[in-house]
Point group: C2
Chain length 154, copies 2
């Protein structure tokens, strides 16, 4: 009695979606470099020397998680980490040549995987899907950062 159909629950679907993507990534992109790790590499390609916290913010990882991911990437020699001489609290990150190589090599496979992932949808549906996911994710993340008022608050 009172059991619910979870296939209509967006949260449950989001979880299944993420798991499906995880598996697809493992088979089509890389078994060594995970999707969050690739996101970090990508952020540092765009902005070399960025500090750790900001990288985490860019890719959607909190401070604890970005610390672990960065630690793994550093252990594999894909990035260097140095204290900011201007601000001793910050860690500045920069890709090594090997990090750049890995990022470049994975790029093609990531694009292929995205195609396979979205293949069940028609082209116009794919665009709608991306848009809807982004709007929901943005809104939910906005609930967490409770305002960030540019103008003066009340």
């Amino acid at each position: 009695m009172a059991a619910v159909d979870l296939t209509t629950h967006p949260g449950h679907l989001a979880r299944r979606l993420q798991q499906a993507h995880y598996l697809l990534w493992n088979t089509m992109v890389s078994e060594e470099t995970t999707s969050p790790q690739y996101a970090v590499l990508n952020a540092l390609v765009a902005e070399p020397g960025l500090d750790q916290r900001t990288v985490g913010e860019r890719v959607g990882l909190d401070r604890s998680t970005i610390a672990e991911v960065v630690s793994r990437l550093g252990r594999r020699g894909l990035l260097d980490k140095v204290r900011d001489p201007q601000d001793g609290r910050r860690s500045l990150l920069r890709l090594t040549d090997e990090g750049l190589r890995v990022h470049r090599r994975l790029g093609v496979r990531v694009a292929r995987m995205n195609q396979v992932f979205l293949a069940p949808l028609a082209a116009d549906e794919q665009a709608v899907f991306i848009d809807l996911m982004r709007r929901v994710a943005d809104a939910a993340e906005g609930l967490r950062n409770p305002a960030e008022p540019t103008a003066a608050p009340g």
Copy 2:
């Protein structure tokens, strides 16, 4: 150079979506009972006495993960676990009264949270979103189970 815009990558969005849902769940539904745990409770409300592996299949958890989730629920006294006398490999699961109570109590909050989660979308968009997520997730999971041919294959 060659950095990519991750906000157009469905996998990255799926991860952010799942994280957003995780946070919303924690604040609006429960800090003790997680979303996967609720899914297990729900599956057992629908089919009491189901075996552990099938429950995992219903809610999208592999054998290792369902074992851990069931272990936590059992430790909290929300379900009972007994060996199948007909098949000594299987574990049969059944909710306790407390498990039923928790499931019933969370139902209302889950519905409220789903509304908040989907609030940024118009009503018709919400239906489309659910449909698209389900189709992508189903297809990707289908890639894993390599056929299950009902009729004779080629």
